[in-house]
């Protein structure tokens, strides 16, 4: 127990490392990585998710293929790709940006899936109602469809943030000094304190993740859950198109399977 308290007294090193004088490490780096990758992934995820519910095959299939491929690849493989391939392509990235890129790719695919489920949960007729009040299609998407969809997606986003925060510990393998690496460095410096340093590491992850999962539980009770398993991949939304095609071209390119 004394060992544990002694490690807890060094909480500042576990949280931010030697930040003002040295590089930012520890728990703060985990949170920073999670926030960066989630917010970048959200931007691309909305675009991909909109593409996935599109009825146009030339938009839908590339998006679905990207999402399916990334979702069935381990995160470690994506990190390896970013680590080995980007230098070959002539991009010299630091370890931090390398991990941000790989985590963003991972987050994009999962968030696109959440966004798709949210779009499919918006009732039909909302777009028609918005158009009949004189909005343009883009305005209707921004002011009517997206707010309703986001309301339903919010609990899923918070729980995804939780899992993404846990996944940021994976970048320890390419040598980013975040909380896992910090704990291991301390346990290697003082081998008789190994249990205490691991416990502090676990405590750091647990506190953040537990508060996040509590928030998502509260939100789920308030806003309801989307049933992801109920949506089949071939479903698309004809009414959500931004740039309608002339009907002759549309008949050639668009599938008939709508919800």
């Amino acid at each position: 127990m004394d060992f544990f308290l002694e490690q807890l007294a060094n909480w500042k090193f576990y949280c931010i490392g030697t930040y003002p004088t040295g590089p930012l490490t520890g728990l703060a780096l985990n949170i920073l990585l999670a926030i960066l990758s989630i917010s970048l992934g959200f931007f691309f995820g909305v675009i991909l998710g909109l593409g996935r519910v599109s009825c146009r095959m030339y938009i839908k299939y590339p998006c679905s293929i990207f999402i399916d491929v990334v979702r069935s690849t381990p995160l470690l493989m994506i990190i390896f790709w970013a680590y080995f391939v980007l230098p070959v392509l002539g991009m010299q990235l630091s370890l931090f940006w390398c991990s941000v890129v790989s985590l963003t790719i991972y987050a994009t695919a999962y968030q696109a899936e959440i966004v798709r489920a949210g779009f499919l949960a918006v009732p039909f007729g909302q777009m028609d109602a918005a158009l009949s009040t004189g909005m343009s299609r883009f305005q209707a998407l921004i002011y009517v469809i997206l707010p309703q969809a986001f309301r339903m997606m919010l609990p899923s986003f918070v729980s995804f943030f939780n899992s993404m925060f846990k996944n940021t510990s994976t970048v320890y393998i390419i040598g980013v000094v975040e909380l896992t690496r910090t704990g291991i460095i301390i346990s290697q410096l003082k081998p008789n304190r190994i249990f205490a340093s691991y416990m502090v590491m676990a405590l750091g992850f647990w506190v953040v993740c537990y508060s996040l999962s509590y928030i998502s539980e509260v939100l789920e009770k308030k806003l309801g859950v989307i049933d992801y398993e109920a949506y089949k991949p071939e479903i698309c939304r004809q009414d959500l198109v931004l740039f309608p095609l002339p009907s002759m071209i549309k008949n050639m390119l668009v599938t008939n399977k709508s919800k």
């Binding site: 069935s72 381990p74 995160l75 493989m77 390896f80 070959v88 846990k166 691991y198």
Partner: protein
């Protein structure tokens, strides 16, 4: 037009050269072994924890809840590292030293860590399945004279597993993907083999490409299998009703 400044010449002979091909094959075998064993163990432990969580008695209820909350909020990588580095230290009577001497302890630690990580998620999924069994079915089972074990065996668990098959399947695919994390504790599975080949030859792209194709292919096959299994196990309620009313007593 040259889009990228590609400074790399592919040499597809590398994955098939001698020490590397052996590493890759044992890597694939170990990945499959870890994935299958952790799937089975975590399913068993997860089901037991879920049944404890649904219990009325606080002695069973609260420890199970603590277990789930503790494990779900700590990353899987931590559990792997914990079982590899810390677990032998805290065992009494010198068992830990024997474990250190055991050559394949990294694989065992990987299986233990992934089981602990996965069983919490599985138990949450199974719990939603157990709660989704209608109350009337259990009452009907009681009234036909089945005891508690028979109810579980014949009524509750089959119905629960039918409902939770899709999320359970996606969790198992996730577990298969997570088995790549075992490389952090030097278990010689596929990702570890890739990393070794890269660090010896400085040519990681070919093997990384092959491994990615392996992971993607197997996950997609598992997903297709689960969809097929779900369709196979689905009970078509409408057809049963028609049959019953067709030759029933009051038809």
């Amino acid at each position: 037009m040259k889009l990228f400044n590609l400074r790399y010449e592919f040499d597809w002979g590398i994955p098939f050269r001698e020490p590397f091909v052996g590493w890759l094959i044992t890597g694939v075998e170990l990945t499959l072994l870890i994935a299958v064993v952790t799937a089975i163990t975590s399913l068993v432990i997860g089901t037991i924890v879920a049944m404890l969580r649904c219990s009325r008695f606080k002695i069973f209820n609260i420890p199970a809840k603590i277990y789930v909350e503790l494990v779900r909020n700590i990353p899987g990588l931590f559990w792997l590292l914990f079982f590899y580095f810390v677990f032998p230290e805290i065992l009494p009577f010198g068992i830990g030293d024997k474990l250190h001497e055991y050559v394949k302890y990294s694989v065992v630690a990987g299986i233990l860590g992934l089981t602990v990580d996965n069983s919490a998620y599985v138990s949450d999924i199974v719990r939603t399945g157990l709660l989704s069994v209608p109350r009337g079915h259990i009452e009907a089972a009681v009234s036909t004279g089945l005891n508690r074990f028979q109810q579980l065996r014949h009524i509750i668990l089959p119905e629960a597993f039918r409902t939770i098959l899709p999320p359970l399947g996606s969790r198992m695919i996730h577990n298969f993907k997570n088995s790549s994390l075992c490389m952090a504790i030097t278990a010689p599975e596929l990702t570890w083999a890739i990393q070794q080949v890269e660090s010896i030859t400085f040519r990681g792209l070919e093997v990384t490409f092959l491994a990615t194709v392996f992971y993607i292919g197997l996950s997609l096959i598992m997903a297709a299998f689960i969809i097929k299994l779900e369709k196979h196990l689905k009970i078509d309620l409408t057809s049963i009703k028609e049959k019953r009313t067709g030759d029933g007593l009051f038809s």
